[in-house]
């Protein structure tokens, strides 16, 4: 679990953190107006290397491209969350209070609603069901469950925050942006509630580990998110065709 906890140096303000990301020249040319790319270039002295993407597993599930790719990306994350909370409620840790049971049941239902929404909206274009890997989670242990829940919710928030700009800027892309917005705030509500369970009435519900000095929450690229989610998903995912 520890390696999923974002390190402090990755938690810089969401705009500034883009500075740390490597970027390919051709990506930059395609998105000359994308300021994230622009700022990266500013600090990248020699950006003439044109390394190709990492090897693609031929068996990997391809999220696809364009808006569909981003929707499948969200669908993948919602599958992970829904599977996790389904397990949490099915195999309760000892001493789970009635209030905690209610909270986890609510969140489970929200995540299932999100998952089923994406599945229905994507129709034939939806990726298949992914196989989760929860072998490192001890569902009998409250701390293990809460820590994982916090990780997933914060990760989900950062994923939606980073994905908003990847939708097309017109037509249905705008609808998807608003839909993602409708979901991300619920994920953020989950994150705050879980964090409050861990450390009640402290500042942790929107702690300095996730909200920077500008008052901004974390935003991550799909590549960053999927890397952090990978230990929890057996199925290999190919995100190379997503908009960048």
């Amino acid at each position: 679990m520890q390696k999923l906890t974002p390190k402090a140096d990755q938690q810089e303000n969401g705009l500034g953190k883009h500075l740390l990301n490597p970027i390919h020249r051709r990506m930059f040319f395609r998105y000359a107006g994308a300021t994230a790319a622009v700022t990266t270039l500013l600090l990248t002295t020699g950006c003439d290397d044109d390394d190709d993407d990492t090897m693609i597993d031929p068996m990997a599930v391809d999220l696809g491209s364009g808006d569909v790719g981003i929707l499948n990306y969200a669908y993948a994350l919602e599958q992970l969350e829904a599977a996790f909370y389904t397990q949490v409620v099915a195999t309760k840790f000892s001493g789970m209070t009635a209030a905690e049971t209610q909270l986890f049941t609510d969140i489970r239902d929200h995540e299932i609603a999100h998952r089923e929404f994406f599945k229905a909206a994507l129709g034939q274009k939806a990726i298949p069901a992914l196989e989760p890997d929860f072998s490192k989670i001890n569902f009998a242990d409250r701390t293990s469950v809460l820590t994982t829940a916090k990780t997933f919710e914060d990760l989900g928030v950062s994923a939606y925050n980073g994905a908003g700009q990847l939708f097309t800027d017109t037509g249905v892309g705008l609808d998807y942006l608003v839909l993602a917005g409708k979901i991300v705030s619920v994920e953020a509500r989950h994150a705050a509630a879980i964090r409050d369970l861990i450390n009640p009435k402290s500042k942790d519900f929107s702690g300095d580990d996730v909200v920077d000095a500008n008052g901004l929450d974390v935003a991550r690229t799909p590549a960053e998110v999927l890397k952090l989610a990978a230990p929890f998903i057996k199925t290999k995912i190919n995100a190379n065709n997503l908009p960048k």
Partner: protein
Amino acid sequence: MNILKLIQDIEKVDPEVYERLDSRRSIFKHFSGFGMKVAAAAVPLALGSMFKKAYGQSSNTIVDTLQFALTLEYLEDEFYRLGLASPAVQAENRAVIQQISKHEAAHVKFLQDAIKSLNATPVTKPTFDFSAKGNFPTWNSDPAVFLAIAQAFEDTGVRAYKGQAGNLVGSNAVLTAALQIHSVEARHAAEIRRIRGLKSWITGNERGAGMPAATQAVYNGEEVTTQAGVNIVSGNISSAAATEAFDEPLNKQQVLDIASLFIVA
């Protein structure tokens, strides 16, 4: 700051870049502000505006939207600051309110810097009346009233930012920053609701126990159970859960109607 390298790179794909930049001299004002007026985090916004202008796209919509957001942040910022200086914030809630107050102050500063980086002047702070013209006379003495107003502000903030996302697609940096503020407002809302003994999410259009009727407009429209033509209610998902799973946007006018209760001038 390797700005020259950046422009050289652009020149390779757009030989007319210098012409574009030069023909709109005002954009160079952004350079003069670097490291001085513009906070480090706002630099991407400044560059964003530079390219928007150089490539002929208007940033008026973005500025207008940021001004609107700034007005809401002024409201929240002042509310929590005055609350923390009053008996309305009890010791047990102090850590939470201080954290929220810190964020709202940061949002004000961030939006002001962002607006300046777009070569505009931030709107001035309105004069607020948190008693809402006598509706909440004990807002700064009764902890329950204070928290109820806080809940209304935060749940409104979430809906307000959500409603403006589509107006910010012209700049990825601004859009992402707005989303990053949006989820912080949602964290705030969730915590305030928990402190008040409510669920952190909104069920139907319920404003929740102890919320004054005057705050109902904050919750109207949250009862939606169909998203993009997909019925969310199913054998597994109750109507209540379907409404909780999706927060709904408010448009600018709806938000201003709510906020105007607290704005004197």
